[in-house]
């Protein structure tokens, strides 16, 4: 380890201009239920009014595990003009972008067209949300960049949506969720990776989604905390699938971003994959190199929610094992488990690593540098 400990890094006065950062996980919300209707054909407006959205879980509205806060969001993040948290650009600017000197903010819309059983509706909703991101957000604030949301269970239509948006500078990545009908390495999703690789766009895999599978390999758990902690296990299984199905081998320029599922698990998973691959590689001849090499070269992680050891410097070991060049700072605004930019890294990080963590890695990955 080569961490220099310096005193006084937290002592900056609040009036000092803050160092620029990237926030790689911001959740924009709709102010009203019908805000997407201008982007949807009449047929789908009618469908939503009459039948609603049928996800791969039973609730017509709201999540099966009730959140800890309304909309899983900060109570101080309601915009003054009304609407749910995260639905006002001006309030987002005032509460998040301006005070934290966010130079690049990556939008990851949730509750869109992903994870729903009617795949045509899924494609229509995703296309609508992509138009909406431009109109409401990225065209109005150049710091914000959008994610191409795609109908995840229909690889071909998802690839078509990516090709349609490719080259549009409003978009910096393709967005998937971690829980799908099958593990993400499966062939049905390959057209998405192929299109993303062609377009030179990273694929972000955000925690959440429903694919009809129990959210643990031993059935459905009882509590919201189990779902939340469990996102890291879902992400691990999704990443293991990507490696073992040979997705990284087949798409060597593909870049994947693991979003909002922690990163502390990454070294252990890579070690375990390497050890078992040495024994069982004859089953997966398409995985030509030790799994940890694909992971080291083609995977990034957003930071929030950062693991929180009792001794905070223990986290430095894990970051060293992953690589300081692979972490992307994120707040998860406006969600309740928001990470405050000035507090997440303890003192003792070198200036170069700090800059990479907060801004440099993101600018490079998302082609902004």
């Amino acid at each position: 380890m080569n961490i220099q400990f310096r005193e006084g890094t937290e002592a900056a006065s609040p009036v000092t201009a803050k160092t620029a950062i990237a926030d790689c996980d911001i959740h924009p919300a709709r102010a009203t239920r019908t805000e997407l209707y201008p982007y949807l054909a009449k047929r789908w407006q009618h469908h939503l009014e009459v039948y609603g959205v049928h996800a791969y879980q039973g609730m017509m509205e709201g999540p099966p595990y009730p959140k800890a806060q309304p909309n899983a969001s900060r109570r101080d993040a309601y915009p003054p003009e009304g609407g749910p948290q995260g639905s006002s650009l001006s309030f987002m600017q005032q509460q998040l972008l301006d005070p934290n000197n966010v130079q690049l903010g990556v939008l990851n819309p949730l509750n869109t067209g992903q994870g729903i059983r009617n795949h045509e509706l899924s494609a229509a909703l995703c296309s609508a949300i992509n138009d909406w991101q431009i109109d409401k957000w990225t065209s109005k604030d150049k710091r914000l960049k959008a994610s191409i949301v795609v109908g995840n269970e229909d690889g071909l239509s998802a690839a078509a949506e990516i090709r349609e948006r490719a080259g549009d500078k409003n978009f910096v990545q393709v967005l998937l969720l971690s829980r799908n009908v099958e593990p993400l390495g499966q062939r049905r999703y390959w057209p998405i990776y192929q299109a993303a690789e062609e377009a030179g766009l990273p694929v972000g895999v955000h925690a959440f989604g429903f694919g009809g599978n129990p959210i643990t390999p031993s059935g459905w758990p009882s509590y919201y905390i189990e779902e939340m902690v469990g996102h890291s296990q879902c992400q691990q299984s999704a990443l293991a699938s990507l490696v073992l199905e040979g997705v990284f081998e087949r798409f060597p320029k593909l870049k994947m971003v693991m979003i909002e599922a922690g990163f502390g698990w990454a070294p252990s998973l890579a070690w375990r994959l390497d050890k078992v691959w040495q024994r069982l590689r004859s089953e997966v001849p398409h995985v030509k190199r030790p799994p940890s090499e694909y992971i080291r070269e083609q995977v990034w992680w957003t930071t929030q929610p950062m693991e929180d050891p009792e001794r905070r410097e223990d986290l430095f070991d894990v970051i060293e094992w992953i690589g300081w060049d692979r972490l992307l700072f994120a707040t998860d605004y406006p969600h309740w488990d928001y990470d405050e930019p000035s507090r997440v890294l303890p003192a003792g990080v070198s200036e170069a690593n700090r800059e990479a963590f907060y801004l440099g890695n993101a600018r490079k990955l998302y082609g902004m540098s």
Binding site: T216, S218, G219, P221, S232, A240, W265, V284, D308
Partner: protein
């Protein structure tokens, strides 16, 4: 390699049932007839296909039969060379996969009787785990109580992937019986395959199932802790067997953070998850899933902030290490003694 010491306890060895017909002498007339009349075949789980390289080390693989089916091999491969005082037998025969609770109960009973007669009776170093029919909690408790008077049974055994998360209240009578009878509950890698083997669905490969065991253990630890098992049964010990160990600390950092954030949802959890793990949960050493360098090893054990979490295991006959290298490189002698002797004895009260 770190120096092994004599008198250690191997907390995870796997005697193999040669075939379903090996259990016939231990089944009632009715079930013997069911097995033969219906042409039932051997219960081999996808978790451990007999010829898979993880299922047996090349030099531990017999010319005929299943790896681990002969006591003489186990003696020659681990009991003698590792100079063990005890080895705890965890049969992985696929009895958990059947769906009938009656059939499962009959097979578990036969398996436990088979273990006592064909293994425990034949080598005084061996101890056993009670395999239970979790399809029926009532029958599981009855099987624990039936076997418990034989003090050579030192543990109750469950799979990490079953029908429900392990913390679920319906299973608590099992934990009540285990605590009352001084039996830790061992949770072993493997699935009943009643649910997809990952939380994101069915993968394609055996290797994927094996890698996924670690994630299954993580979700089960969350379930056991937040449902309040250890608030209700504070003396209960649970041992994660063949779970891997390098994920433990980062997992707990995450669980601890969320518990602090949303503990209002599970107010009965009366201690921090880190404390619960340190007092009630243990992990078997193999497979040791970290790179073979001493600096990393030392950091990993330091992150645990406890020298009591890990119990020695060879995972015989599974292929986790070569030669005598059951201990990862660079463990200090004090820690070796804790792992091989003190921690197992502190965990298993019946181990005398």
């Amino acid at each position: 390699m770190a120096s092994l010491i004599a008198g250690g306890v191997d907390c995870d060895v796997h005697p193999a049932v040669p075939h379903l017909t090996s259990l016939l002498p231990y089944l009632s007339d009715y079930w013997r007839d069911q097995v033969t009349t219906r042409g039932m075949v051997d219960l081999v789980s996808q978790s451990y296909p007999a010829r898979s390289p993880v299922t047996a080390r090349p030099d531990w693989r017999p010319d005929t039969g299943k790896p681990g089916e002969r006591l003489e091999d186990m003696q020659r491969h681990v009991l003698d060379p590792f100079q063990l005082s005890h080895a705890i037998c965890n049969p992985l025969y696929g009895v958990q996969m059947v769906f009938s609770e009656d059939m499962q109960a009959a097979f578990c009973r036969a398996l436990n009787d088979w273990l006592a007669k064909e293994w425990l009776d034949r080598d005084s170093r061996l101890r056993g785990s009670i395999v239970i029919p979790t399809q029926s909690v009532e029958k599981a408790v009855a099987e624990i109580e039936r076997c418990a008077p034989d003090r050579r049974f030192v543990q109750v055994l469950m799979l990490v992937m079953g029908d429900t998360p392990l913390g679920k209240r319906a299973l608590w009578p099992i934990y009540e019986a285990a605590e009352r009878l001084d039996l830790p509950v061992g949770i072993h890698a493997g699935s009943a395959y009643h649910n997809p083997p990952t939380a994101v669905g069915w993968g394609s490969y055996h290797i994927e199932d094996y890698v996924g065991q670690a994630q299954a253990f993580q979700t089960q630890l969350t379930s056991l802790i937040v449902e309040g098992v250890f608030a209700k049964y504070p003396r209960l010990k649970m041992v994660m067997l063949e779970s891997g160990v390098s994920w433990i600390s980062p997992f707990l950092w995450r669980l601890h953070k969320f518990w602090r954030g949303v503990r209002m949802e599970t107010p009965w959890v009366d201690r921090a998850p880190l404390e619960i793990v340190r007092s009630n949960i243990r992990f078997s050493l193999q497979p040791f899933d970290a790179p073979p360098d001493q600096a990393t090893l030392i950091r990993l054990f330091d992150h645990m902030q406890s020298d009591e979490l890990v119990l020695f295991s060879t995972d015989y006959p599974h292929w986790q290490f070569d030669g005598q290298d059951a201990l990862p490189e660079g463990l200090p002698p004090d820690l070796v003694r804790k792992i091989m002797i003190d921690n197992p004895h502190a965990t298993y009260p019946r181990l005398t």
